[in-house]
């Protein structure tokens, strides 16, 4: 009797000890921690995973960047969460104000950054050059995401330490700077690199960070390296998107050579949608009157793509149907950086460096002297000079030109998520002008303008 019990006990322990697989069974549809990243292809897959997690950021970035600002408003049907955002009421229960999707991206970046170096041991094809290239890519993705968190929520946790908005730019520059020359892709025609962080998006981010620190020279140099001649590999306001072709910018990232530096891409064929089309269809609209007042009558190529009455068209089927590219139905890309944005940022830097005439050249019809292919932001859509008949007094030029640049950014980049940050930045340049408050009051007279420009609850 005892012997039988003994055998059972021995059998039990033998089974449990001899095959640990029994308690940690393999699975063909997930990879458990510890089993990942041993080949170059795994590293690439992990990098693509970062972008697929970035797809969740389009909604909060556009909503927080536009709906809080002066150009976008809610419709009557909008859920309370969106109405709250529009009224600058922040409740932690508001799902659009969750930081989770941002940190999910950061954690995916950290994960691959931690593990990438070990792949060099297990896969000889993973060379040091490749390693540095992918490390730079993941670092850029991480820093961009952290920068969004800092801007939206006022503080950010970087590598376990909390930084306030004021300190974040310096810290991120320190992290990112050393990677700037490690990218392998130098050609704009390279296969779909625009859907991934690359050397130009790194420059653009560094430029933004330096601009946030009001290092106008540093920022200008970064932006210049995006739009400066480098063989044919510079971003320019090209004739591809001139006048009636301007709408194509918002369609297909993979063919948006010269214009798009980096965009988070979606594809309806793979069930990857963003909700922007739905939002534009049902819940958000142009602010009454404001949008119409912002545009000149001659600005037809941009307005026909941007809005119709109060309906926002930039993410709507009006654009996607024109292309017959069904994979973009409900899946328009999130344009993170594009050439017009960088040109205007560059102009802003030049203006603050005292070169307001050069700045206006980029806003107007391009740097005709140097870069024949660059049409200028307004020139590309067939408009004349922004200053029109105004004679700019050199003593007051910086402020006048800045206002022109801000207005042009509003028109060119409408509903692309940049407006709130722009208003906040220009408001800081000229606190006496109450730029932010005036803009918000134009949408909602009774609005209480918060002392902090980030979401804080």
């Amino acid at each position: 009797m005892k012997r039988i019990f003994k055998y059972i006990v021995i059998a039990a322990f033998a089974t449990s000890w001899s095959c640990s697989d029994f308690f940690e069974p393999d699975n063909s549809s997930v990879i458990f921690e510890g089993d990942e990243n041993s080949l170059t292809t795994d590293v690439v897959a992990s990098l693509l995973g970062i972008y697929s997690s970035m797809q969740d950021l389009a909604d909060p970035i556009i909503l927080l960047g536009e709906l809080r600002a002066d150009m976008m408003d809610v419709t009557a049907d909008a859920p309370q969460e969106l109405k709250d955002i529009s009224n600058l009421v922040y409740r932690s229960s508001n799902e659009y104000l969750s930081q989770n999707p941002f940190y999910e991206v950061v954690n995916n970046c950290d994960d691959i950054l931690d593990k990438m170096i070990d792949v060099m041991d297990s896969d000889p094809t993973f060379t040091e050059t490749l390693y540095l290239n992918y490390q730079a890519e993941a670092t850029c993705a991480k820093c961009w995401t952290l920068w969004q968190i800092a801007q939206l929520f006022g503080q950010v946790e970087i590598d376990g330490q909390v930084y306030t908005l004021a300190d974040t730019a310096t810290k991120l520059i320190e992290i990112l700077e050393s990677h700037r020359n490690n990218f392998m892709i130098n050609s704009l025609s390279a296969d779909w690199f625009r859907s991934r962080c690359n050397k130009w998006s790194t420059y653009a981010l560094l430029g933004e960070l330096k601009l946030a620190n009001e290092d106008f020279m540093g920022a200008a140099l970064e932006f210049k390296s995006v739009i400066d001649i480098d063989g044919d590999n510079y971003h320019k306001l090209s004739s591809t998107y001139e006048t009636s072709s301007w709408y194509k910018i918002f369609l297909d990232v993979s063919t948006a050579q010269y214009e798009v530096l980096f965009a988070v891409d979606y594809n309806a064929s793979y069930k990857q949608y963003n909700s922007l089309q739905d939002f534009a269809e049902y819940y958000v609209q142009c602010t009454d009157g404001v949008v119409a007042e912002m545009y000149e009558d001659a600005d037809t190529y941009r307005t026909e793509v941007t809005f119709s009455d109060s309906k926002i068209l930039k993410y709507s089927t009006a654009i996607t149907q024109a292309s017959s590219l069904t994979q973009y139905e409900g899946a328009t890309p999130l344009l993170v950086y594009r050439a017009a944005d960088i040109h205007l940022l560059y102009a802003e830097c030049l203006n603050h460096l005292g070169l307001y005439e050069d700045a206006l050249m980029y806003v107007n019809s391009g740097d005709v002297m140097n870069y024949t292919a660059t049409l200028g932001v307004r020139g590309r859509v067939g408009l004349g000079n922004i200053e029109g008949d105004t004679v700019i007094d050199p003593d007051d030029a910086m402020k006048v030109v800045d206002m022109m640049i801000l207005a042009e950014r509003g028109r060119e980049l409408a509903f692309e998520g940049k407006r709130w940050a722009d208003l906040v930045r220009f408001d800081k340049y000229y606190p006496e002008e109450n730029i932010l408050e005036n803009a918000l009051r134009s949408k909602n007279e009774s609005i209480v303008v918060p002392t902090e420009t980030y979401v804080n609850f």
Binding site: F32, N100, D265, Y270
Partner: protein, 985 residues
């Protein structure tokens, strides 16, 4: 009585029969304890321990089959009067046996403490089932199934191609294959982490004699269409539409421009097409038929015996496109290989095809939903300008509603399941005292769901296009159980039965889901006929999942009894599962229970009226390991970016996760008197389930918003009573009555995590001190009669507008004059205060008449259907209840005003919560037994009626909506009549 066999167990064993005056006498040593067993054919055998014998009187009781005398327990067959835990068995009454449409139906009224509710009228759909209280938040509350000694994983609990439709886990067992069922309510610790929801132990028929017998059963039934709900007529609907369109900001001019047919102008080409009075429910609710055939052959010889059963079931439902076809076969064999080695085999195979329909949540594809909400102005077929009716179905109407008749005829939702069970058990009879056995069981289940959504007549579907989809779920489980049993009678007084064993189980489950959009025409219904590369399929989605889990348990139990007076049971299981991290892998589940049988005391042994008085009590600890296969582990999953594969971290594991653990005290009394004509069993229990899995909000920097933790505690306690009485027990005339009653109270004690969850249309919450899963919303207190009255309250709605006349009056819980989510409160619970059943059976000569009545009291139902038919916020048709809607200042009514796009008056509130109490005549059966010839040993014809009468205040189609208590408009439970014939050869 003469000829009763008496056997005496003492220091030596002997026996004999009683004489003509019913006396049997023998001599034994003075003071020598002995045990007497008396038995007589047709009567119940009795065992009694006697300390000091002089004269013992036994009153024999006729065995009329109306009580359960033996139960299949984890340890084997146990006499019901020797149990120490709470367990109930079933007795075949005619009504249960014949009227059962499914195994769940059969079990439904059998045992107090077991709550079974159909989720609707789709045959083949799993019923919701719960033993005692609801002891989990996110894990399953479905009891463990043990079929012929093999623990069965619920392989179909992942759903199907239709939301919330679950294939029944009991599909492989036909009621007629079953010999006995035990519902184990306490002491399930031996099942370790599978035991906290109790267990249902099913044993199928085995051949007990070598004679070959054949039984054939066949029946045919008619199911009656459900009664239609009262919806607005064409005229009423048009008036309502005008009002609603005005509320949407349209002028009469706008309306007539957008919908010119609204004017009924005969010169307009579409006036005939869009001005009808179609009773959509009458078009879609239908009578249907059912058929059942069952063949069972038993036979064999002394060395090998077999049972073979074959069955076919076809059942219709109240919506024409829903039906169920099942074939099943079962083979059981018992083989005596040598004197010491026995083998038992059980195999079963079933193939079932169900055509199922969406409930009302799928607004554009639900037959019942569109039948209710589509305007009667429209017509199923196209009507041209001359008023000619075309054979083609009309497309979605100008208001956007789908055509239910097109859905019935052109839409497919088919589910095919294949289920194989095979088990083999080898029993080694080492000695009289020691037996060893090994069981190996295999279960293979494959379910394939196919859906086809046509283009015409279906509006607003996801991708607005023809859709063909496949859902495949495949499960393979292997189960091993090795056990050694030791039975020892130390002397006549002390008896010991002990066993110990070891179970190992490996399981894998795989799901694949495919969707094709944009098929070129209605003939291409399957992705296999065309691929994206060769046809114009616009979009193709494929996804799936793969789950593997393994577990092992070491277990031991000892049962000790003394003089058949005192009983003590001890058991323990040590459980280890791949679902947990190494640090939490092994958990122990002990149990102890005991009983005292007062009727074994010498003073009560010879009572002439008292047959049984037993007090039972025990404590047990059980677990629930249904936490998800990989919830505890960190893992990455695949994703795509621009069509290329990526890897993304998708779960951050929690090493600390462990089983949900239930600790339960149970006390019970069994009482039988008057020659067992009165049998009462009363149980009371109190259980506390701790470490319940809840979602917990993470620090945002973690990146995952939620993770699972063991963070909640739920207490449940209850009283369970079953009474059975034999009123008349004569040879020609018998009358049995019985009933059971279950009262339970479940309360949330603690939740450290997310305590409210969104369900379709509303919220449920786990609030301390309230019932688990209670409905959570606004308290509605009628309608403001005047705007002045409303505005005097200064209350503002969630949109920031002042309440006005005709708006709902909601309780402002926090008195901040703002109705928002902080004003939500518990507004009802789906758990009944008490429930149970009555049954009665008359037998007169060869006729028998039986009836079963079920009742449930105090459970609330969230009437989602009524939320759709009374919200008055869209162009959907509404019920006639909205004729009372508030329209003028000063009007006193409980129906608010109609507002297009409203989400305030129609918000989730007590307005939609109804009393779901009911009394239902579940079944009435009349049967007649006959003997035709020598060839047909016995025959029976029967007529059985199901669910004919239901008494309830509930306003929906049917108060039986499943234990979740939400009526999503699944097709109602079938009622009907069955005529059948059973022949034994």
């Amino acid at each position: 009585m003469q000829g009763v066999s008496v056997s005496v167990q003492s220091s030596n064993n002997f026996g004999g029969v009683t004489n003509e005056i019913g006396l049997y006498s023998f001599a034994s040593e003075e003071g020598q304890p002995l045990e007497l067993t008396v038995a007589y054919p047709g009567y119940e055998s009795q065992v009694r321990f006697v300390d000091n014998l002089q004269k013992v009187t036994f009153r024999l009781v006729r065995d009329d089959g109306s009580s359960v005398n033996y139960l299949d327990m984890p340890s084997g067959k146990v006499a019901a009067n020797e149990l120490t835990t709470s367990a109930g068995g079933t007795v075949y009454t005619q009504a249960q046996m014949i009227g059962a449409r499914s195994f769940e139906d059969f079990l439904r009224s059998a045992v107090p403490g077991l709550n079974i509710q159909s989720n609707g009228g789709m045959p083949g759909e799993s019923a919701s089932m719960m033993i005692r209280g609801s002891r989990s938040i996110s894990s399953s509350t479905y009891p463990l199934l043990v079929i012929n000694g093999v623990m069965i994983e619920n392989s179909s609990d992942d759903g199907s191609n239709i939301s919330d439709y679950f294939d029944t886990a009991l599909r492989s067992v036909d009621v007629k294959d079953v010999e006995s069922v035990t519902v184990l309510k306490s002491g399930a610790s031996i099942y370790g982490s599978k035991g906290s929801n109790g267990a249902i132990i099913i044993t199928t028929h085995r051949a007990d004699q070598s004679e070959t017998t054949v039984q054939v059963t066949s029946d045919f039934g008619v199911n009656l269409a459900s009664e239609a709900m009262s919806m607005l007529s064409a005229d009423q609907n048009k008036t309502y539409l005008y009002e609603m369109m005005a509320s949407a900001g349209m002028s009469v001019n706008d309306i007539l421009t957008a919908y010119p047919w609204m004017s009924s102008d005969p010169s307009y080409a579409y006036t005939d097409r869009y001005n009808n009075n179609t009773l959509w429910q009458d078009e879609s609710l239908t009578n249907s038929f059912s058929q059942k055939y069952h063949l069972m052959v038993k036979g064999g010889d002394a060395a090998a015996k077999y049972v073979f059963a074959l069955g076919y079931t076809k059942q219709g439902a109240t919506v024409e496109s829903a039906d169920y076809n099942k074939y099943h076969a079962r083979l059981s064999a018992d083989i005596k290989i040598t004197r010491v080695l026995d083998l038992q085999f059980d195999t079963s195979y079933s193939v079932a095809t169900s055509n199922i329909v969406d409930d009302m949540r799928s607004t554009s594809t639900s037959v019942l939903g569109t039948s209710l909400l589509k305007s009667p102005l429209f017509y199923p077929n196209v009507i041209d300008a001359d008023g000619d009716i075309y054979p083609t179905y009309d497309d979605i109407d100008p208001l956007g509603a789908a055509n239910p008749i097109a859905l019935i005829n052109d839409m497919d939702n088919t589910l095919t399941s294949n289920d194989f069970y095979g088990s083999a058990k080898a029993i080694l009879n080492i000695s009289d005292e020691v037996k060893a056995s090994h069981t190996i069981g295999v279960n293979f289940y494959k379910m394939r769901g196919t859906t086809y959504v046509p283009y015409y007549g279906v509006g607003g579907y996801d991708e607005g296009d023809r859709l063909s989809s496949r859902y495949i779920n495949e499960y393979l489980g292997v189960y091993n159980d090795t056990r050694v049993t030791w039975t020892k009678a130390i002397d006549v007084a002390h008896r010991l039965n002990a066993y110990a064993g070891f179970r190992v189980s490996t399981n894998s489950k795989q799901q694949d889901n495919m969707e094709d959009y944009g098929l070129s025409n209605d003939e291409f219904k399957s992705s296999s006929t065309s691929t994206a590369a060769t046809s114009n399929i616009r979009k193709k989605f494929i996804n799936g999942s793969n789950n593997i889990w393994n577990w092992m348990t070491g277990y031991a139990q000892a049962n000790y009894s003394w003089k058949r007076l005192l009983y003590a049971d001890l058991s323990i299981a040590a459980d280890a599962s791949s679902k947990f991290s190494a640090s939490n892998r092994v958990q122990y589940f002990p149990a102890a229970s005991g009983a005292i049988r007062f009727t074994s005391l010498p003073s009560l042994q010879n009572s002439t009226w008292l047959n049984e008085l037993k007090l039972r009590g025990g404590w047990d600890m059980t677990g629930n390991d249904d936490i998800g296969c990989y919830t505890a582990r960190s893992y990455y999953s695949t994703t795509t970016y621009r069509g290329y594969s990526g890897i993304v971290s998708s779960n951050i594991g929690n090493d600390d996760l462990k089983n949900e653990v239930t600790s339960q005290f149970n006390i019970g009394v069994d009482f039988e008197a008057f020659d067992r004509r009165l049998r009462i069993s009363l149980d009371a229990y109190a259980a506390e389930t701790t470490d319940i899995l809840v979602e917990s909000l993470q620090d945002q920097t973690v990146g995952n918003q939620f993770s699972y933790i063991n963070g909640a505690t739920i207490q449940d306690k209850g009283i369970e009573l079953s009474i059975a009485g034999t009123v008349i027990r004569k040879n020609d005339f018998k009358w049995n009555i019985g009933g059971n009653f279950t009262m339970l109270n479940s309360v949330v004690k603690e939740v450290n995590g997310i305590d409210s969850y969104t369900i379709d249309g509303g919220y449920v919450a786990y609030i301390e001190g309230e019932a688990p899963g209670a409905f959570y919303g606004y308290q509605a207190n009628g309608v403001y009669a005047t705007t002045a009255e409303a505005q005097a309250t200064q209350i503002v709605d969630a949109d920031g507008n002042y309440m006005q006349g005709g708006d709902m009056i909601y309780t402002d819980v926090n008195s901040d004059n703002y109705i928002d989510e902080s004003d939500m409160m518990v507004i009802g619970s789906a758990l009944p205060d008490f429930y149970g059943s009555f049954n009665t059976e008359f037998t007169y000569k060869k006729f028998s008449l039986s009836a079963t009545i079920d009742y449930s009291y105090g459970n609330e139902i969230f009437n989602y259907v009524r939320m759709q038919t009374e919200s008055m916020n869209s162009f959907d048709n509404q019920s006639t209840a909205v004729l009372n809607r508030w329209t003028t200042e000063g009007q006193v009514t409980d129906m608010p005003r109609a507002v297009y796009g409203d989400h305030i008056n129609s918000a989730f509130s007590s307005r939609w919560i109804e009393d779901g109490s009911y009394v239902r005549v579940r079944n009435i059966t009349l049967a007649y037994d006959f003997n035709l010839s020598k060839f047909i040993k016995q025959g029976q014809v029967y007529l059985s009626a199901d669910n004919l009468f239901t008494f309830t205040k509930y306003l929906g189609y049917d108060p039986e909506v499943g234990l979740s208590g939400v009526d999503y408009g699944a097709i109602p439970v079938t009622k009907g009549v069955v005529l059948g014939l059973k022949l034994d050869f």
